[in-house]
Amino acid sequence: MLPRTRDFAASLALLCGTVFAAAQSAPLTAEQIKAAARTDDFSIPTPGEFMAALSKVGKPDWSSKTRPPIPTDFPDRGQRALNLGTLVADGYLAVEAESKQDVKNIGKDIIALAKPLGVSEELISRGKSLTDFADEGQWDVLREELEATQNEIKIKLATTGDTDLIALVTVGAWVRGTELIASHVAKTYTKEGAQLLRQPGIVDFLAGKLDALPDKLRDEPAVKRARVKLAELKGAVSSPRENVADQETVKKIHALSAELVKDLSKKNLK
């Protein structure tokens, strides 16, 4: 049954600004926590959600965070997938910066990069939607389109048996998103901003996915680089729950993630 909107409005009014502290249910055991399901599309937030959280604690100059176009003709499939993820994050950045041209350019690059992975056909109509919505300045709709685009890429990879590449798209999107957020927080440090960079569950999940890749994919230079940097990032984004990363730690998170994003975009990565 569909609940009455009024009931939900009342609930929403109650939850706004409310901090819930007391516990009612029995606590989970360590075994239950370990056995909990973790999925790529439900457990891991998109870069858009990450950026939405930052927008509440500051006013980032998103347009200053853009980067020059990256190559779209990488020889390795793993590197393509990783960069596909970074481009999806760039798409969210372009939307936050409300840059119509960047949205269009990134849409084209996503299609070009996806083509050799067998995904482009599904994305062509999506790319047209991105262009149309950018022309009309429908930024909220564009955010939803980008999320749908990311999922469409992953669905197609799953249906073509390339499930291993899904994790790489997610890693690319997450690391570029982390670079963008850390860049802002490192420059205009606040505890609220630094709190957003605490992501132990995400980095654990992604590192586990990379460790489980088939040998051939895991040995690609870009994937190797991602594994090494993720291991380094893990310590920096896993501060204790009661602590907030200090400015030096935030700078380290930025440096590590920026270095990885830059490395991933190199055509002749060794």
Binding site: M1, L2, P3, R4, T5, D7, F8, A9, A10, S11, L12, L15, T18, V19, F20, A21, A22, A23, S25, A26, P27, L28, T29, A30, Q32, I33, A35, A36, A37, R38, T39, D41, F42, S43, P45, T46, E49, F50, A52, A53, K56, V57, V141, E144, E145, E147, A148, N151, K154, I155, A158, T159, T163, Q195, L196, R198, Q199, P200, G201, R241
Partner: protein, 144 residues
């Protein structure tokens, strides 16, 4: 139907990375969950495009990890099918401690909880069927 739900509905039944085709119960549960989420989408909540679904039976609890950001508000909506007479949702922090939800919503085979995390990091959402037959469930996350 809220416009924000249209992309999600278009993808109904197709968002299952590498999983076998969905059963009728799973499709029905997902539709019910999206309808439930639609009741508060007008309040500015955006759907995470993914969902978590599966089978469930009375007395069984299913647990999933979600990674949330402090400062955002989250709403989790679960729905099953009419085979389930009563379902429930609960939330735990990364230490396993339960988080008290004020004014949780529960009606038959649907339930929803909303809260604002005080710390960024992993949380755990537990779906339980309290009464009814074995069926399917679908859990959806919204945020703003």
């Amino acid at each position: 139907m809220n416009r924000r739900l249209i992309p999600a509905l278009l993808l109904l039944g197709s968002l299952s990375f590498g999983q076998p085709e969905k059963s009728d119960d799973e499709v029905a549960a997902r539709k019910n969950a999206l309808e439930l989420a639609g009741a508060f989408a007008n309040d500015g909540f955006k759907l995470r495009d993914g969902h978590w679904s599966g089978s469930i039976k009375t007395g069984e609890g299913k647990l999933v990890q979600v990674n949330l950001y402090a400062g955002n508000e989250y709403y989790f909506a679960v729905a099953s099918t009419e085979k389930a007479k009563k379902v429930a949702l609960s939330v735990f922090d990364e230490t396993g401690a339960a988080i008290t939800i004020e004014e949780p919503y529960q009606e038959g085979f649907t339930a929803a909880v909303g809260f604002s995390p005080v710390a960024s990091g992993p949380y755990y959402i537990k779906v339980e069927e309290l009464e009814g037959e074995a069926t399917a469930f679908c859990l959806i996350c919204s945020y703003k």
